[in-house]
């Protein structure tokens, strides 16, 4: 039996015998846009996520208020020490992650136009499972991390890292198109946008 790879590539070449020409890709669509805290907050809220716009000084008190008394997964590289929180540190088993009350992270980029936060596994974000299994995800976005549009965000990201784009909490509309939050991912997403 001929090699599947060689055969498929041969079929592709034979299929293109008419030498179709390809017009250039015109990228005249909108590439830049409003990267304001207000737009990002508005768009995140639209997904039924909770959003707080805060000053740098307000971050720790607000986190303490939201998370005190809880067992929270905290990846390496976060600058905040939240009083009253039991910080769980990786390495954790999936069972331990499953039993945590929540997870606190930073992010790599946020997209104002779509209300999306993007995690790339960098400092303060940890591996992908950390933001997947606990039921409550609290994410802190710095204003300099906000990109206006999808094109601007992709430009800032490193495609070789594993990326997770998050737009609101886990949701399904599979039953009579009724939206239900939290099927498998975190049921609650809470975002702090720091001005």
């Amino acid at each position: 039996m001929a090699d599947a790879r060689a055969e498929i590539l041969g079929r592709v070449r034979a299929a293109l015998r008419d030498k179709p020409d390809t017009p250039p890709v015109v990228r005249d669509y909108v590439r830049t846009g409003d990267a304001s805290v207000e737009l990002l907050a508005d768009r995140i809220a639209h997904y039924r996520a909770t959003v707080h716009v805060v000053t740098p000084d307000e971050v720790v008190p607000l986190l303490a208020e939201r998370l005190a008394g809880k067992r929270i997964v905290v990846p390496d590289g976060l600058p905040w020490d939240v009083p009253g929180v039991t910080a769980l540190r990786d390495p954790l088993t999936v069972e331990e992650l499953d039993r945590a009350d929540g997870v606190l992270t930073g992010c790599a980029v946020a997209i104002a136009q779509t209300g999306t936060i993007v995690l790339d596994g960098g400092p303060g974000q940890g591996r992908r499972a950390l933001t997947l299994l606990p039921d409550h995800h609290v994410c802190v976005v710095r204003s300099d991390q906000i990109a206006g549009t999808v094109p601007e965000a992709l430009e800032r990201l490193d495609p070789l890292r594993p990326l997770t784009f998050i737009s609101g909490p886990s949701a399904t509309s599979d039953i009579e198109l009724d939206r239900v939050e939290g099927v498998h991912g975190p049921r609650r997403l809470e975002v702090l946008v720091v001005t």
Partner: protein
């Protein structure tokens, strides 16, 4: 090889037969109409928000055409990039070969978790795995409903759209998931509890892919529920089955598709989760990553200069939700994993067998009203491809009495003005019904008259009626 292509379901009736049954099912039609009307409205809003939508569509079309016209080069590039990052690439000529590869990769695993994937449905992977003693657990809520109900999916995006909440509760109860009520929240919670155990223990996951980037080797999956993220990150081994045409040239190209797809599909600015990964990342996610590149009729489709544009499809399902034929007949009438307008042009091409009556009937499952083209984010001219495939079907059949009528249909549908004129004159119905037997759905004016509750647009030509009421 030489086995049947499972892209159509074995034993499915031809479209007109199935459509007649579906038309008689008022519950089904009510569920469908509610759903498509809702999604249609939401989509229009999400799309209307972007002033550059047409420019994005044109860019999407151009990028996909570039991919198709240099597919060999991009596939080789993709393979090199994935391999360089620790992934393994496999090539599958057809369904049987792809299934064998996946089965071999499953090793000793008796159970695998799956994230919804059209490609694996197309090759009948679950059935092939089951025959070898491996149970594939569908983890998308709608797919789970379909799987537990021993049912067929009826929509690309919401496969269980034909089921209402009380039916779903019954299905879950019969499967031992025991939901206490038919509240969607309670149903979703039952699925969550059932599946979480699987996610935490399964060693192998199977996924599809929405895109794969040639220059970086990154693979992309868009989803809503988080079951995708579970499958893509928790098991030790990840197997992704992807149609050849899903490759895009560069990382930058994603900026177009990440805008086009969610708004066309779920009518959201962005779907809740998008995951991208490149090969394997030590300490994060699967230790092994396999990418299976699937032909299964795609290169044959590529060989047709008119038909090849069907391979631009990004499976958003927008064309289903605007299609008057789909709205009344439902997805299962198409007898294929690809229903609706895109199914009508993609399925017969992937099957590529003029003796498959069921597939051959699909290009006739349309009114040619053009609504599908208008919403398609990659500008696939579905009506033109339909007309082209109708002509091909007629050629393949020879000049039987039936084929003369088909040819007439092809001729009428070849031109919009001829079509409208024919409808105005009422000649269309005569054209098809004079032998008292309508064996395909050549157009709404003709076919729906065979069903008592067919909403025949009185006097008004269908296209005009559609434009006024839906456009």
């Amino acid at each position: 090889m030489g086995t049947r292509n499972p892209v159509t379901w074995l034993g499915s009736p031809t479209f007109p037969e199935a459509a007649r049954t579906a038309l008689a099912d008022t519950q089904l039609r009510r569920n469908l109409r509610n759903a498509t009307t809702t999604i249609r409205g939401r989509r229009a809003q999400a799309v209307g928000e972007l002033p550059d939508w047409e420019r994005l569509r044109r860019a999407g079309e151009a990028i996909k055409d570039d991919v198709l016209h240099h597919l060999d080069r991009y596939l080789e590039q993709l393979e090199a990039a994935v391999t360089a990052r620790g992934g393994v690439v496999h090539w599958a000529r057809d369904a049987a070969e792809a299934n064998d590869i996946v089965l071999r990769l499953c090793g000793d695993a008796r159970e695998v978790v799956k994230v919804k994937s059209m490609a694996t449905q197309e090759i009948g992977l679950n059935e092939a795995l089951a025959a070898a003693g491996v149970h594939a657990v569908e983890t998308d809520l709608a797919e789970l409903i379909v799987q537990l109900g021993d049912d067929r999916p009826s929509h690309i995006l919401v496969p269980a759209i034909h089921r209402n909440r009380s039916e779903i509760r019954e299905i879950f109860r019969a499967a031992g998931l025991g939901p206490a009520s038919d509240d969607p929240r309670v149903l979703a919670e039952a699925a969550r509890a059932h599946l979480r155990r699987k996610f935490l223990s399964c060693e192998v996951a199977v996924s599809g892919a929405n895109f794969a980037v040639a220059d970086t080797g990154s693979v992309v999956v868009l989803e809503s529920e988080g079951n995708g993220r579970m499958c893509l990150t928790l098991p030790r081994k990840l197997i992704t089955v992807m149609g050849l045409e899903k490759v895009v040239p560069t990382w930058q190209d994603l900026e177009v598709f990440l805008q086009l797809l969610p708004r066309s599909s779920t009518a959201e600015r962005m779907n809740p989760y998008t995951s991208t990964w490149t090969g394997v990342t030590p300490g994060d996610g699967p230790e092994e990553f396999h990418l299976v590149l699937l032909d299964n009729g795609r290169t044959a489709t590529l060989a047709d200069p008119v038909g090849r544009q069907a391979l631009r499809c990004i499976r958003c399902s927008a064309c289903l939700n605007v299609c008057p034929v789909y709205e009344r007949t439902g997805g299962r009438s198409y007898g294929s994993v690809y229903p609706g307008p895109i199914g009508a042009i993609l399925t017969p091409q992937l099957v590529d067998d003029p003796h498959d009556e069921q597939a051959a009937s699909l290009p006739f499952a349309s009114s040619l009203c053009g609504a599908c083209f208008e919403v398609c984010p990659v500008r696939i001219d579905i009506p033109s491809v339909l007309t082209h495939l109708r002509a091909r079907a007629v050629e393949a059949k020879g000049r039987s009495a039936e084929s003369v009528a088909m040819a007439a249909a092809a001729w009428v549908f070849a031109s919009a003005s001829r079509y409208e004129k024919a409808q105005k004159l009422g000649s269309l119905a005569r054209l098809f019904a004079h032998d008292g037997r309508i064996s395909w759905l050549p157009g709404p004016g003709a076919a729906w008259t065979s069903s008592r509750d067919a909403p025949v647009p009185a006097r008004e030509p269908f296209r005009e009626w559609w434009r006024k009421n839906r456009g």
